[in-house]
Symmetry: C2
Subunit: 372 residues, 2 copies
Amino acid sequence: MAAAYKERINRARKLARDEGFEALWVNDAPNVRYLSGFTGSSGYILLGPGKGYFITDSRYELQAAQEVRDLEIAILRGRLPALLKQLLSGMNVSRLAFSGALLSFDEVQSIRRALRGTAAFQPLQGSLSGLRAVKDAEEVTALRRAVSNAERAMRAVAGLVRPGVTEMRVAEALACELIRGACDDAAFNIIVACGPRSALPHATPSGRRLGRRDLMLLDWGARCGGYHSDMTRVFFEGEPAAELRKIHGVVLEAREAALQAIRPGAAAADVDAAARRVIEDAGYGEHFGHALGHGVGLEVHEAPVLGGASRDILKPGMVFTVEPGIYLPGKGGVRIEDVIHLEGDGPRVLGRLPRSGVLPSGAGRGSEVMVE
Amino acid sequence: MAAAYKERINRARKLARDEGFEALWVNDAPNVRYLSGFTGSSGYILLGPGKGYFITDSRYELQAAQEVRDLEIAILRGRLPALLKQLLSGMNVSRLAFSGALLSFDEVQSIRRALRGTAAFQPLQGSLSGLRAVKDAEEVTALRRAVSNAERAMRAVAGLVRPGVTEMRVAEALACELIRGACDDAAFNIIVACGPRSALPHATPSGRRLGRRDLMLLDWGARCGGYHSDMTRVFFEGEPAAELRKIHGVVLEAREAALQAIRPGAAAADVDAAARRVIEDAGYGEHFGHALGHGVGLEVHEAPVLGGASRDILKPGMVFTVEPGIYLPGKGGVRIEDVIHLEGDGPRVLGRLPRSGVLPSGAGRGSEVMVE
């Protein structure tokens, strides 16, 4: 375990050094956790030449002592920029890097003021969070757990998905299952949407009830040891309206096209395009308004981005979602989302849940409803 | 309801205008929700002279149409800086303000590049989030609901707090109660800590079991209609160690001193000092390492700050926590936290939970354990 942090710290140092920086400032919780193992919400890392500090305040002093092994711990008693200046004074640093995507404008200004005459504080061109895109074996294990826990929770509540149940009831039951499971929590606010509300890709669960010949879309995930899963399934109650069945078929085809296109070395934008072409050819291009997928890990959304404007290249070890969707305002929407682990020889879908949860008419037979 | 948003928008416009800006850019979810009513996670607001836009992407198009009344809706199809430039082109704006605390360094750079030659993009000196510090009646109602729901959940699980129960079991039960209640969710990751772990002010629940003559600290809250509560209580199982009983008494005295000092016009730093003096006089000053309290509302931590370095002045309508604590490494910690509503004639504690949950020896008698 400690070895993993050392290796990650070395990669972070190299990222900065390759751009001519002697030191790197890390201020966001996911990257701090990745590089140090610290699971609290308030920590910073300063990686200097040959020396690395983990900084937190007194609330986390004991926790840091337990969790952080490979960095010297400094406790913040006053203002952060002043402590940073003090720690740098013991190092030979003329240029300190930060991540411009992760630090606020004000924080940059106040650190620059404190370091005036000491060191230049400048943004990295490379992506610090991008270091996390390729997962190591331990991370893949955590992601597999996050997927299997999400699936276990879904199997436990699938029997609730029957005519008359409210979106909120299903969402609450699912959230409790996720909390009671082997994992930390739900990965994000669960989406449950029936009927036309399923055309809202990010609907908040409401009191709306599942009707007959209706559909229910669920987007949920688990967080395990800090790692997130993110999945979406659609349940049909009885025979759905013809156009909903049609878009369901198109979405499954788009998913298949994406899986065919995913391989080490592929451009993420090309994978998005492969899925999008299927949806466009079916005449629904304008109703697929989001990217095909996104990396998952210590954040629900992280590198790589599988979207039209992405410059990411897929590499073995990346873990990301594939989630084509078609949303017809006033009618309903279908999205199927899985977590994919790209191995050396191609994509593996993490998880075993059938791709759609077609309910037999007059349903409610527990886990049977998950049979494809 | 609509009137509240118009009034809030007017205050935001005035904040920018008072600093010589013709327009204001709002990019963070809590302020966007406050000014527009939009409950999704991806929205922006541009307030120009006589014209205001709400910007989101296609995922939230229908939701925005349902929730946002007082702003024109613009759907983002390409890059955000380009859309911002386009919307500004129809207005007479030479200086556009943003919140430097809320916008990342990179976002500022990319918007500045897009607006070069069009408008200056500069940080506000005043605090945009600070507009939310004084709550209106509707917000106080939501906060009261968030407190009462947190209390209801605690009463429902208090019977679990008996020797042998794990921190995790209590945290899971509490989280499920919060989800199943009338509210949205838990306000944050619940803290449950027994014995020496209670000296970690932000402990993650573990498998540790509550022992005899042990204490259990719980820090939890509910989120209702977007508004958060945040409370902390300590349960004693049987007669606690003498020093723990002593610090419990000191914390209650510090709380009392804070409540005495809270009044309209008081400096928040003075209220912190009043409570801190009690703890220092008892010889525990170095073991109270955090601020006395913080505003609560659409965020768990917002203005005002009740801390030594704060320049905030307390005003009627503010809602904030008071949470003195003493943490003795290796021995245990005590914190008592309540949500306070400052009315014109003084502070009101929202909620009715006894300040400590002293368990009778051989406990587990359900809600009785909450009797002071």
